[in-house]
């Protein structure tokens, strides 16, 4: 299985760069090609990178079909209010999914595809399972959940038509040092709102663990959905207390005002984050250990601690003005 060609779509993001760096160290990876709208955030030695917009479908198809990968990892997902607003996030994700998955289907060597999804696909409607596992029905109740469910659907259809393995990694909210996340950004505000009546528990995953899951899924030619969740759970109030932020209890209608105010202050709260704070977001991640052998390095409370341990401003030494 040595000398495999791997294509990573979304290599420019923090998660994509991490996945690429880990793939470079894998003995089974021969050639590595990446596509994204931004250049990779870390130094990659083997990978070849193409700076392409999601709307440049023909060029994407050209790059992908010429490379003719054995494995495609699709990380081109724009979480609403992470790097861009909802409208653009929806558009970019739809364009990238169509182009990448469509192009991958044209590659004769393709054996496996691993797509990024999220536990948002389970939705949090009334009486939805408290801790859904992979057999729970997909019933998204947020915009982000709908976007992810659409990616899963397209990948599944292509997999069935072309006859390849399609692995779907349903990630808990990803937090990491440089990962743009509306949840992480909100929790790091000096004053953080929380639902006084609910304060439901949620789980997250660290970006390094998420990247490891993608590498393991690609190596094992995963052909099913898997939840990637750090063990443990935490509530918003507990996160606020851990981070020594000011808790701002909200009861209901003032959430609208709070989310608008938070948007103005630079931390927009998209509907899936509001849903997480009100209804919680847990998932059963035990299958990841069984199938991928993945044991997350950090538990949910530890990921939250790391979130608060990151410096807001990183000083890289004093500037010598005489020289400047």
């Amino acid at each position: 299985m040595r000398g495999q060609r791997v294509l990573v779509s979304g290599m420019g993001g923090e998660l994509g760069s991490l996945v690429a760096a880990k793939l470079e160290a894998e003995p089974w990876v021969g050639a590595l090609v990446g596509i994204d709208v931004d250049p990779p955030r870390r130094r990659l030695r083997k990978a070849e990178f193409h700076l392409l917009q999601p709307s440049q479908r023909e060029r994407i198809v050209d790059v992908v079909t010429k490379f003719n990968p054995h494995v495609v990892i699709n990380l081109s997902v724009w979480e609403p209010d992470a790097r861009t607003g909802l409208v653009h996030a929806r558009q970019f994700t739809a364009d990238a999914t169509t182009a990448i998955i469509g192009a991958a289907a044209e590659c004769p060597a393709l054996e496996s595809m691993v797509v990024r999804s999220g536990i948002e696909v389970y939705g949090r409607e009334r009486n939805a399972p408290t801790r859904p596992d992979e057999t729970s029905p997909v019933h998204p109740t947020s915009e982000y959940g709908l976007m992810l469910a659409n990616i899963e659907r397209q990948a599944r259809e292509v997999g069935r038509r072309v006859g390849i393995a399609v692995g779907k990694l349903r990630l808990a909210p990803v937090l990491g040092k440089h990962v743009p996340s509306p949840l992480g950004r909100l929790l790091r505000q000096p004053a953080v709102p929380f639902s006084m009546l609910a304060d439901s528990p949620f789980a997250v995953i660290e970006d390094g663990d998420a990247a490891q899951a993608f590498v393991a899924a690609a190596a094992r030619r995963l052909d099913e959905p898997i939840n990637i969740v750090a063990p443990g759970a935490i509530t918003t109030l507990q996160s606020i207390l851990r981070g020594k932020r000011i808790p701002l209890p909200l009861f209901g209608p003032e959430w609208w005002v709070a989310s608008r105010l938070s948007h103005v202050l630079g931390a927009p709260i998209p509907d899936h984050v509001v849903e997480l704070m009100h209804r919680g977001r847990l998932a059963d991640g035990s299958k990841a250990h069984e199938v991928l052998g993945l044991q997350p390095r950090l538990s949910t409370p530890e990921v939250i601690d790391h979130l608060y341990a990151w410096e807001s401003v990183v000083r890289i030494g004093s500037i010598n003005e005489a020289v400047a």
């Binding site: 009334r126 939805a128 639902s195 609910a198 304060d199 439901s200 606020i240 207390l241 401003v313």
Partner: protein, 234 residues
């Protein structure tokens, strides 16, 4: 410039610390488990639950020490028997016992989730049983404290799927007083092997039968010998 940008954050953090510190001292900052149960909240509420119920527990040695099990208790209407029985058994067994039947709307639903409540959905029960948890299900509520209601077979099904034992739990509590009793019976084994859904229907009927037998031979809400009994014996 960096210090200028930092200033309001530092000031706000300091203010936040001053505000939150008393709360942090009283409230542990990480206390929910994978299912959202909060042992610290339960410990904090224990004096209040003891104010309402003084529960005597028996037969807990029947329960497995590490593996999962489904417990089925009888329920007099509005007695909250599943809740006090689950809390009392958790304390005695020193491992969480989750009860089934929390609502899914705020504020009661989230509060009951923190106390160890699960939704009355087979998928929720199955998820917990697969993770070797003790899960308490209520039979249908009755108006008489010594009648065991019908046991919902769809909630027994997850035990068959997960391959865990089922135990009847007889409960009795006073409507006005604090006295309450919880008695765990021996494992109910299916009489015959079935491949289809009849297995869970028959097991549910058997559990109801066992519960009724336990309730028929149950004393009052108190155990032991009352002083008046000593006099009678003397």
């Amino acid at each position: 410039m960096a210090q200028l940008i930092d200033f309001p954050v530092k000031a706000a953090t300091r203010a936040g610390n001053a505000l939150v510190e008393p709360l942090r001292a009283a409230w542990p900052i990480h206390s929910v488990d994978d299912f959202g149960r909060d042992p610290h909240l339960i410990a904090a509420l224990a004096p209040f639950t003891r104010l309402r119920w003084n529960v005597t527990v028996g037969g807990e040695s029947h329960l497995p020490v590490r593996t999962g099990a489904l417990l089925v208790c009888n329920s007099r209407r509005f007695s909250l028997s599943a809740i006090y029985a689950a809390l009392a058994l958790s304390e005695v067994c020193d491992r969480p016992v989750r009860f089934v039947g929390r609502p899914d709307s705020a504020p009661v639903g989230p509060l009951m989730r923190r106390l160890g409540g699960l939704l009355a959905q087979p998928s929720d029960i199955l998820g917990a049983l697969r993770h070797h948890e003790l899960v308490m299900v209520s039979a249908d509520g009755t108006s008489h404290p010594r009648h065991a209601g019908e046991v919902p077979h769809e909630l027994i099904g997850p035990a068959m799927v997960a391959g865990v034992p089922v135990f009847p739990v007889a409960t009795m509590s006073s409507t006005i007083g604090r006295a309450a009793r919880v008695e765990v019976g021996p494992q109910v084994r299916p009489r015959r092997k079935r491949r289809g859904p009849l297995a869970e229907v028959e097991l549910a009927e058997q559990v109801q039968h066992h519960l009724q037998k336990m309730l028929d031979t149950f004393g009052g809400v108190r155990t032991g010998v009352a002083p008046i009994d000593w006099l009678a014996e003397g």
